[in-house]
């Protein structure tokens, strides 16, 4: 079972308390974007085999959205962090790089 630490209420929540929000750190494409860019924003996802950055909501809990970094193959959780950021914390990225040799980075 997936277990994530909610950065807002501090609860170690299992997935039955959480709601998934898909890939994290997407850049929203608004009315100024081209059709292709908008389509990509809506539908193109990384779907990696390995390190993945995701949005989760502590739905049956404090109700807050947060971010999680985990491995889609091993299910290892590298960490969670607040939603008010546009990219993962540097310390977390460094820790993941150390654990996953050859990792191509989050972008």
């Amino acid at each position: 079972m997936l277990i994530l630490d909610c950065p807002y209420c501090g609860i170690r929540a299992d997935e039955t308390e959480l709601a998934p929000g898909g890939e994290a750190h997407l850049t929203r494409v608004g009315p100024e974007g081209s059709d292709a860019a908008f389509e990509s924003y809506l539908f193109d996802r990384k779907n990696p085999k390995g390190v993945h950055f995701e949005r989760w909501r502590h739905a049956a809990g404090c109700g807050k959205w947060f971010h999680a970094a985990r491995n889609t193959v091993t299910l290892e959780v590298y960490g969670t962090y607040p939603a008010q950021v546009t990219e993962p914390p540097k310390a977390l990225l460094a820790a993941i790089s150390k654990k996953v040799p050859g990792w191509e980075g989050w972008q």
């Binding site: 807002y8 209420c9 609860i11 929540a13 039955t16 049956a60």
Partner: protein, 192 residues
């Protein structure tokens, strides 16, 4: 004014714990920046309760003030006191990006009493109910089977449970079933 009644009219179930609909109860939701000094001051002035820390629930007489999220508190009080509390909070919070709303009619409050109360809740929620992991003074928002619920322990042998009024019957029956005689598991039993 019509007479306020609680969702289940004071229903009671006696199993290996006793479950009661607590009757009409006041609840006021307070939203704002819990990190701002002015917010804590305004809340204290209106309720007499200190600002609870993360997941904490503090008591001032019949009033209980619980931390619900980094920008939300829940005040539980006498039913008749709730509209006045919401108005007093609106006054002391004036000028801040905050709000207080009387949500008494949208909620139900149950009390579960008995030595096995931790176990009954543990049957329904993913929360860790083990002594040491959870106990009096903490408000836990979680899930009771299929619905959202929050609870705290006024003391070691009782749990106070808050659910949405619309699911009161479901939640009551769920807890009653978990407390039915003969279904004791023996979790969290005190060491011999």
């Amino acid at each position: 004014m019509s007479e306020a009644v609680s969702a289940l009219g004071g229903a009671t179930f006696e199993g290996y714990c006793i479950l009661r609909d607590a009757g009409p109860t006041g609840m006021v939701t307070i939203r704002g920046d819990l990190g701002a000094a002015a917010f804590g001051k305004a809340v204290k002035k209106a309720t007499g309760c200190a600002l609870p820390k993360q997941r904490e629930i503090v008591t001032n007489g019949g009033r209980r003030l619980a931390w619900m999220s980094p920008d939300e508190l829940l005040l539980i009080c006498d039913q008749g006191e709730a509209p006045g509390m919401a108005a007093a909070l609106a006054e002391t919070l004036k000028g801040q990006h905050a709000l207080a709303l009387d949500v008494s009619d949208a909620r139900a409050l149950f009390r579960l009493e008995g030595a096995g109360c931790r176990e009954v809740i543990a049957k329904l929620s993913p929360a860790n109910l083990a002594p040491g992991a959870f106990g009096p003074g903490e408000m836990r928002r979680t899930r009771l089977a299929q619905v959202a619920g929050a609870f705290h322990m006024p003391d070691e042998s009782s749990v106070e449970i808050v659910v949405f009024r619309s699911v009161a019957r479901y939640a009551f029956d769920l807890i009653a079933n978990a407390a039915r005689p003969g279904s004791e598991v023996g979790l969290f039993a005190p060491a011999p």
